[in-house]
Symmetry: C2
């Protein structure tokens, strides 16, 4: 058992002599095991139990740190610069009216911090590997956007989640992949001001759908 | 000279015995020559004169049909389902207040008609070939969006063009590449209603920029 040390957080170095490493070391071990098992067995064939066993870690840690198998794949294989279980909490913390602003700011801060090339690698990966695309779709829409939209109690949550995804994928493509100026070089707050109201409309506003 | 036949349109079969083929045949010859010359010389090394010469066509035809070298590259190599010189005219025909609606409807109609896989091929091409990306960026932003935004006489035309590009790239990615439902399966008018107001804000609305 590793998670008996309830106070060890992900940020704490947590290197103690004579006992199993916790915190970052366990996370790293899980990520390495995940990369190996996903490569060997594919996404569908890999199980959290196998990955955790390979890392010598309690399977519950996968949920604790990565929000399950999808989050582990996102982090280990797609190198998404956030954990699923914390990103939804972060962007919903300001309530429904701040969703647009919080999502745009969090997205840009994390990807800018990770280096734009990791977003390029993500797009290259999902456009060449159908399995990676399917997993990203599940993560982005079913896990992140749908969970987020549900906190706002809006109508048509699936459509709103998909529309939100169009804006954020396009923002990432323009800033990091196509490097379209001035979107590529603008400071984060300029883009938050420009983009957040549009994302907010998708998530909680009037969609004026026909029929 | 080929374009002495002023009444021949792109839609007309235009196969006549004993004279140089016009219309579709000339267009096809130019596209084939363009693919060969771009492959041999790269985008920067290729010239309209060389391509037209290879096709046995007056270089002026390249501007007439494709809006220049960029448009020819877009059509021949990237398989973009519209010609640069007509798409700006089409989407601006309704005036500045209809830009969002006309762009979303034209984009979806053309790419749905071309088959979503051609958009997937475009994205794969630009994420793996820097030259294709650079050319797409020039076409999409400098030619299409900037020309379009200028018809609306808005402030910050370059930023608005880039923001518009984020929305349209993301819409294409979600519908054709990631196939995120219900965006992937929605009928065009549902997406026009949902997306056009957001695009319209980017092109002519209040951006509320800081500072």
């Amino acid at each position: 058992m590793v998670h008996d040390d309830g106070v060890t957080t992900a940020e704490e170095p947590a290197r103690r002599r004579g006992r199993r490493p916790a915190g970052e070391d366990t996370k790293t071990a899980l990520l390495e095991a995940a990369r190996a098992v996903f490569a060997e067995s594919g996404y569908d064939g890999a199980t959290v139990r196998t990955i955790a066993g390979r890392a010598g870690v309690d399977p519950a840690m996968v949920n604790h740190w990565f929000g399950g198998k999808e989050g582990l794949f996102a982090k280990a294989v797609l190198h998404v610069p956030f954990d699923l279980n914390e990103v939804v909490e972060t962007v919903t913390a300001g309530g429904p009216d701040k969703l647009g602003e919080n999502i745009v700011r969090t997205f840009l801060t994390r990807w800018d911090g990770a280096g734009g090339e990791s977003f390029v690698a993500l797009i290259r990966s999902v456009t060449t590997k159908p399995e990676a695309m399917q997993t990203l779709r599940t993560i982005l829409v079913n896990r992140i956007f749908t969970d987020v939209v549900r906190t706002a109690d809006s109508d048509r949550p699936e459509l709103r989640a998909g529309l939100g995804a169009t804006q954020m994928i396009g923002l990432g493509m323009a800033r990091y992949v196509a490097r379209i100026d001035p979107v590529a070089s603008a400071d984060i707050e300029t883009l938050v001001a420009a983009v957040a109201p549009n994302l907010q409309r998708y998530l909680t506003g009037e969609l004026d759908l026909p029929g």
